[in-house]
């Protein structure tokens, strides 16, 4: 038989038990040796056990335990596609994302309101960001893009033909490291989409881009209709070469 469970979690351990002691030896010229000792319980008394020299790794582990929450280096996440200097290219798979539109008065009625926001299906996207650029393209399918993957015009307002994202008043993250990707995604999706910004067709959808986004906001599509994406005659590999 199974049973439901209810767990109560606190951010840190309530009780800390005496476990180890560190003895530090210092020479006059500044040389330092640290030894780490276990604490034994002998007849109810705490006894300092035999020690061993503290290795740099042991000291680092201790420092990390004392500085829990401080970030440190690690593996790159799967969604990072390319790195070169401060340029980082990453992918977001098709997903539901909350987006907000603030359209002009002439479109408000047909769009169902001047300001509308909903969690709606998004296509797979490839973003590129560096200290000089911030761009986005769409990709079809749910697989991680390869250099041969065809790129499509990102179907968003405020993105031009080259994929440049109009920054407007959006606060972008400071830096283009892997751990900032979520913040970059947030900066894009939490901006107001106000107007198409392309010379050519933004989407291949009956009624155009306003209609597509209205239908998405109205919940008419459970998944982003990928047939509406407009090809730009570029692949990820060609773009980066």
């Amino acid at each position: 038989m199974n049973q439901a469970e209810f767990q109560l979690r606190t951010p840190s351990d309530g009780t800390l038990e005496l476990a180890q002691a560190i003895l530090i030896y210092k020479g006059r010229s500044g040389n330092t040796l640290a030894t780490v000792h276990s604490i034994e319980d002998v007849d109810g008394e705490a006894v300092i056990g035999a020690g061993r020299a503290a290795t740099p790794r042991a000291v680092l582990n201790l420092a990390r335990a004392l500085c829990k929450g401080v970030g440190y280096g690690g593996f790159l996440p799967d969604n990072v596609l390319y790195l070169d200097g401060d340029l980082i290219v990453w992918w977001t798979p098709p997903s539901m994302r909350h987006v907000v539109f603030r359209v002009g008065a002439q479109h408000a009625e047909s769009f169902g309101g001047a300001e509308r926001g909903e969690a709606v299906p998004q296509p797979g996207l490839v973003f590129a960001a560096s200290s000089r650029l911030w761009r986005v393209w769409a990709v079809k399918g749910a697989a991680r893009p390869t250099p041969d993957s065809a790129l499509y015009q990102a179907p968003y307002f405020n993105v031009n033909d080259r994929g440049d994202i109009c920054q407007g008043s959006v606060q972008v993250p400071n830096g283009t490291t892997a751990e900032k990707l979520a913040a970059w995604n947030d900066a894009f999706f939490r901006s107001y989409f106000t107007h198409p910004n392309v010379q050519r067709k933004l989407v291949a959808y009956r009624g155009g881009a306003y209609r597509l986004w209205r239908d998405l906001l109205d919940g008419k599509h459970r998944r982003f209709p990928e047939r509406a994406l407009v090809a730009i005659d570029a692949t990820l590999g060609r773009l980066l070469s």
């Binding site: 209810f6 951010p11 309530g14 800390l16």
Partner: protein, 333 residues
Amino acid sequence: MSAIGALPRLSAGVPKVVLPTDRIRADAGLAQYLVQAGALTDADIPETWNGVLEVCARALDGWAKHQIGPLHCLSPVFVLEVNETEDLRSSRRGQAAGYRSAKLCWIERQERQWVVGPGLEALERACAGLGAAVLAVLERAHLAYPLFTPDMARSVASYLYWYGEDDEGMALEEQCDDPDEREEMRQQMVTRELLESAFPAWACSFGARPPKRPTLRALSSKVADERLHAIVDDALALSRLHLKDEFRPDLDGEFVAWGAVLSWREDDVTVRIYDDLLNTAHQGEYCDLIGDIELPLDQPARFAEWRAAMRTRFRAIGLIDTLIHALSAGDWR
């Protein structure tokens, strides 16, 4: 003298256990919150106990177990996670503080595959439309506990493999240049034909909406078999619960918090699609919570309201569990 006897003993003044004063205060504040929310009463306090949090945790766990009752297939886990405030962190430098807020979320501890096809087909044999009606009730109960059903497998296959289309045609055209390559890929991928052969049409609807199904109530009177009748009774009870769309997690990304995977046969394509969905989701952002709610710890009424609102869901979870168990257990030939 033994070697260990020669080792230095720490003064008795060195504490073996440390519990920060502010932490004790914060834990007491949480207990008070639970008391005010009606989640911790005199009856919950044992004769002996080691810590306030242990008492609180035991009371909450006992409540959930009592409310939902014993389960056969599902293992829901509710987690109340309190957030340390900035002040509590700085309180280590001598300032007083407590927990400020908490987040309550729930998940399925171990989602598993349950083969419900033969059971549903037995219902369908007993009365045309009955298997479909019971499956529809389970699908509609996703507000209480989301289930990965055959129709969900179809929807996900369209999204994962077919570029949102109803079959693999466009995906093959996009990815393969020549017919041989296309055929080779078709052999390897999940195709519409594979799905249609895995599930009866009434369990997995392609294209147009399925015709309106007869109601369970209308069909239930036609079932004589006791075992089938019990299933119909539970499905009827589940369908009558008024489930609200609330406590939906505010997380971006693909939803993967399924409570169970309902396949038709042991080795059908459902689990493959489910695994592919999880693999894809885990490459980006995903939502692995069935429900969640923020609980400011200065508003105990919010927690009391949540407990009241969950009664219907708990009843639904129990009925879903009973239905999955009944449909997947035993010989239905």
